[in-house]
């Protein structure tokens, strides 16, 4: 008589709790980045380019960000519109287009990284040391 079997599974779900926690954390990171005119998507792309140290093809960027190429086409459009990145032709393979950080892009990336680190510090205060290491261990199981 009880549909709570199928509608609600109250206690068992670490997976929904995980999604919920991720949403809160994501919102806070997003909020901090928004003040810089950035988003998680933009910051992630800028960071990949900064870490690579050289222009990356859009396919390579898609691969590093674990998303489809058509997404990167649009994201780079927006980053280019913001003046943070520019498209450069690849002389080795004329099918390819590489995304290159501009000076402004490099500076934004660093500002974004600082903003994220600051949010992270703030969040870590919510956890005791033991909870934090338990969390890190448990999350490893999901690759």
């Amino acid at each position: 008589m009880n549909d709570s079997e199928t509608t609600t599974r109250p206690a068992a779900h670490f997976s929904l709790a995980l999604l919920h926690a991720a949403q809160n954390v994501g919102d806070r990171l997003e909020g901090a980045l928004n003040e810089l005119g950035l988003s998680m998507a933009k910051q992630s792309a800028l960071t990949q380019l900064a870490e690579a140290g050289e222009p990356l093809t859009l396919s390579e960027l898609a691969s590093r960000l674990s998303c489809v190429r058509s997404n990167i086409t649009q994201l780079v459009d927006r980053l280019e519109g913001d003046g943070l990145v520019r498209r450069v032709d690849d002389p080795q393979d004329r099918r390819s287009v590489r995304a290159e950080l501009t000076q402004v892009g490099m500076e934004k990336q660093r500002a974004g990284a600082r903003a994220m680190a600051s949010v992270q510090d703030e969040l870590s205060k919510l956890l005791s040391g033991t909870d934090m290491s338990a969390l890190e261990n448990a999350l490893e199981a999901f690759g």
Copy 2:
């Protein structure tokens, strides 16, 4: 887009690990629901309606799903297109529109809940009992 390493030296950051894990978990849930023609967004809405046991105004649904009203307008459009939900006028307040589950919608919701429970069982095998309880405890800190 998801992703993993974002900042300059990310290795120790539980928040990015959490986002990454959440993405993996979300993808698996999404994948299971897709086979039923559902998505997380749709299933969440159906479940709120099922749990309520009566038609809800779109504002109430937005509140329960923690999202803005305009999002619900679109989501209910899609659910209505799928025949899972119908809009009914609220006689008490003519500004309001209520979303009501159809028979098919009720059945879909139950099928979706079963699919999600199955994924969850599968995921829980990746964690030891102690890791799982540690994870649940840690996640509580994020509300």
